[in-house]
Symmetry: C2
Subunit: 191 residues, 2 copies
DNA sequence: TATAATATTGAACAATGTTTATTTTTATGT
DNA sequence: ACATAAAAATAAACATTGTTCAATATTATA
């Protein structure tokens, strides 16, 4: 059996990403195996290696779509052109919500150590990051500082969500992540 | 072959931790397999499961010792009772240095998603965390805020190191992590 | 010395990523 | 229309994981 022409190569790639994503959403990153994905696709494991170099390639592709989706969410949120501090607060809230709404996708994207050196991935990262930088520009001294502030904001949100997801240090009980983020924004950005 | 009495059960556990640690240091977290560890110990895989519930138990034990070591490093650093802001800066520096000196141990400890619910681990976490909180107490409004500040500081250091290790966002090139940390401390703690 | 307790092994199982020869289907050229 | 080349998909195999467990070897005990 071969070239069933049900799908073009590109369609097949998208199918793999979609199925992989569904598996991660439903059962978590540990269920993302070549056999699971191709079975859901209606193909056999070998097929995956026609589409991606290895299983990490599929992971990278799933993560890239997560980033693209998140970038789109940000774009909608930042549409209103509210005051910088208000927009900043919305960005932070959106990040926290992403982790809450799709914890498994968040884990695959941010808490799974994988080398993502594809060009697509780097582009998607900047799709998100550049928006954050842009919001920070009006309240930063210059361009470089805005970029650094974006990295610091990103790192902090990241770290707080990691603490929350790992259950370490009683985040979510004693000090909810929302409160930590609020304190950080207030203190750091004088928000 | 059995009960060779070369080691007591406790010695055997320590041996496993030591060998596991050596493997991680030399070859990274991915090389930490039951067979690798027990081979280095001079035993067979089954033995590991007399000592730990599973391989994650060994990981947790290795991470616990990493935390204990880091806590000791902090203790030495904070011995001098310098000014709070100076001590804070030293804590941050120590964290960055830990990642630089032992990147694989750092990755196993902070960038590998594993459930650590042992009591020992929780204790070791607090061995580090309580020192951070203590340093922050004099420059925080009250006890609760000091604890929250500690979590925020921890999250930020964490996130910045993750960015550095993942190679994302050009941390280390355009904006070195040291500079990001410095900016964060200055801005957040008015240091 | 016989027996019980315990430590260790070795082999087995299922699941993983990955490779490759083979087969099946489609495209191409005459 | 047919033969042949190209491509796609498969099935089977391999090595490596974590993990379990009956069998075995050693020590302790009665």
């Amino acid at each position: 059996m071969a070239r069933r022409k049900d799908h073009t190569r590109e369609e097949l790639t998208q199918l793999a990403i979609q199925c992989g994503r569904d598996i991660v959403v439903a059962e978590g990153p540990s269920a993302l195996s070549a056999r699971n994905v191709t079975k859901l696709m209606g193909y056999t494991p070998g097929t995956l290696y026609n589409l991606f170099e290895n299983i990490d390639g599929l992971t990278a592709a799933i993560n890239t779509t997560s980033l693209i989706n998140f970038a789109e969410t940000l774009r909608c949120i930042l549409r209103d052109h509210a005051k910088p501090k208000k927009r900043l607060s919305k960005i932070a809230q959106a990040y926290l919500e992403f982790q809450l709404r799709e914890p498994h996708l968040w884990t695959l994207l941010f808490a799974t150590p994988i080398q993502h050196d594809s060009e697509d991935y780097r582009t998607a990262i900047h799709l998100v990051f550049d928006q954050v930088t842009e919001v920070l520009l009006p309240i930063s001294k210059n361009n470089k500082v805005a970029r650094q502030n974006a990295k610091i904001l990103w790192s902090t949100l990241h770290g707080i969500c990691l603490l929350r997801s790992s259950g370490k240090l009683d985040v979510s009980e004693a000090d909810p992540s929302e409160e930590l983020v609020k304190r950080f924004l207030n203190q750091y950005f004088k928000l």
